[in-house]
Amino acid sequence: MNLMKVVLLGVFLLAAAAVHAQTDYLEKGTSQRKVFAMGLYPPDVIMKHQQRLGITDDQRAGITAAVKQFQSEVAELQWDMQNEQQLLLQSLSANDIDQEKALDEAGKALAMESQFKLAHMKLLIAIKNELTDKQIEMIKLAIQQRRQDKGQ
């Protein structure tokens, strides 16, 4: 019985942490996104306004498939990337940094982050290619309107 309580508590805490991480990303991400400047539109923005944009079932399926493809591409990479990042941060935190070692670790971390960025870029391109010209124009107008409303 006690074991069951501990397991349930663990599951609850994990779920809460996951939800917090997701909402945190979405909330702080919207104001920091320069991705729009590159003419690319993240899936959460498209899906949030899917009714207004008139996203069809086929487009939704295409976007969902692209996100799942992205997930499969970065799933294995994630563990190695975090490991390399931690090693790099450990090296950089020393008062007297072993330059050769730190640069070697930085190279590995950068290589993995580049892989992640490429996979993310592939996703964003796939999503934009799902959209029609009319939908893209609507998004551009909405972004412009938003900036004007903010008085920027």
């Binding site: 997701q22 991400g29 899936p43 990042q85 971390a109 992640f116 900036r147 004007q148």
Partner: protein, 128 residues
């Protein structure tokens, strides 16, 4: 050289009598048939069959449930939640190294980003 046995041979009769006594003794020692029957499973299968069947059934049900639940979650997973979870789990650490703090370099905070050049109300007066 072995000679062929004959029916009236005393040695043959003795041997037949020995086998007859052995059969009587075996019958006397053998348990009753109903008692033996109760040891068998009702279906007539071996005693190992039932646990194996139960284990197989349980494994089958578990596999089916897992497949069903996994399939449902794959179908129902919101792409926005999935995307957010991936992005939240993968921080690009080295990008933090090239960020410039507006507090440390005030003029850097006023520099327009690429897209801001097109903004009509930009403080610097840059028009689209």
């Amino acid at each position: 050289m072995k000679r062929p046995a004959k029916a009236g041979d005393p040695a043959e009769r003795a041997l037949a009598a020995s086998f007859a006594r052995l059969r009587v003794a075996e019958r006397a020692d053998a348990p009753d048939f109903p008692a033996v029957e109760t040891l068998q499973p009702a279906s007539g299968h071996s005693v190992f069959f039932r646990p194996m069947l139960a284990a197989s059934l349980a494994a089958g049900i578990a596999a089916f449930a897992l497949f069903f639940v996994a399939g449902e979650s794959r179908q129902d997973q919101d792409p926005v939640e999935l995307y957010a979870s991936i992005m939240a789990a993968n921080e690009i650490t080295t990008d933090q190294l090239i960020l410039t703090s507006p507090g440390m370099l005030p003029e850097a905070g006023g520099l327009p980003a690429i897209y801001e050049i097109e903004m009509p109300a930009f403080a610097g007066g840059v028009q689209k």
